[in-house]
Amino acid sequence: MAGKINLSNGPRYLLGLLFGFCFGFLLQKGGVTRYDIIMRQLLLEDFTVLKIIFTAIAVGMVGVYGMKQAGWIELHKKQGSLGTSVPGPLIFGIGFGLLGYCPGTGIGAVGHGALDALVGGVVGMLIGCSLYAAVYPKLKGTVLNKGNFGDKTLIDVLPVRSPWAVIVPVVLLIAAMLWSIEAAGF
């Protein structure tokens, strides 16, 4: 069993740049840096975004849990609560529907020359982040901790002995859903 890999910052940053390059290349080739494709997904007319996200989740899940079991990696789970994971993402979603790009696809859209993504989207996101930093002290002691459920996964809350008892059915469900979308003609 190989141990975990610990690179120093130089090569780690260089790999970050390289993997980011691949990520942006894939988003662009997938068409999801296009406003029209994202908007038509949100209007439920085109399912490219859903196909990419769910394929990435299924493929990613199998490898990441496999490597965790081999002792090669640790998971990186975020803490959540009703006070963070509902209102924040809902506000994000409304912004997503107005802008027609999310942070990754918006920066990717700048890559094909979309100036609305740059002058409207990226500038807006920077302003929004600073606004959040300004109100953060007020939210921190109040709403953010409401209904805290930590970093629990679906595997933690189900009575299973092996994570694969959850992963395999989830991957099969994703495959069935994608197959149905194709069968329905999308």
Binding site: K78, L90, G97, G128
Partner: protein, 168 residues
């Protein structure tokens, strides 16, 4: 490499494999919005001086270039390269679908895009992640808060899109 579009399943599988590599070699999940926030912090610092770093949020999220910032820089470069290879790079103020529905006034598009961007930045920080960090990285680890956040992204997004294109 010069095809305009690849199959969404190949692209999705590629992003899935990319997430294996970043976990294995960089000990980090794929994510974008934290780097955007840190950029906002760095801009604030440049405009208003080092006292910005005393704000609680910037103490917990140091405004500096880090691994994820390099990832996002790479994302931009990769997207430019893909667009140039397929010959689809073109400066454009208004996407075709917007122009068809709302006309060719640049300011209308920019106003809505800016409002959307502000809500995205604000909401991503409130919810501690975006479509990459929660939607892909969190979901593939089966984290419940990420699945909840991802559902909210799309509920909010679908509601706003229908209001924009079907109601108003």
């Amino acid at each position: 490499m010069d095809a305009v579009l690849w199959s969404p399943y190949w692209v999705g599988a590629g992003i899935g494999i990319l997430s294996w590599l970043v976990f294995l070699l960089c000990n980090h999940p794929l994510g974008v919005s934290t780097a955007v926030a840190k950029s906002a912090g760095m801009i604030e610092k440049a405009l208003r001086g080092p006292k910005v770093e005393q704000k609680a949020y910037w103490q917990e999220n140091k405004p500096a270039i880090d691994w994820e910032w390099m990832l996002v820089l790479g994302l931009l470069l990769g997207a430019v390269t893909a667009a140039l290879l397929s010959g689809t790079f073109q400066w454009e103020w208004i996407p075709p679908m917007w122009a068809e529905a709302f006309g060719s006034n640049v300011w209308n598009r920019l106003a809505v895009a800016l409002a959307g961007g502000i809500l995205i930045g604000f909401g991503a920080r409130w919810g501690c992640g975006c479509t990459s960090g929660h939607g892909i990285s969190g979901s593939l680890q089966l984290v419940l808060s990420s699945w909840l956040a991802a559902a909210m992204f799309f509920i909010g997004g679908i509601a706003a899109a229908f209001c924009l294109y079907r109601i108003f």
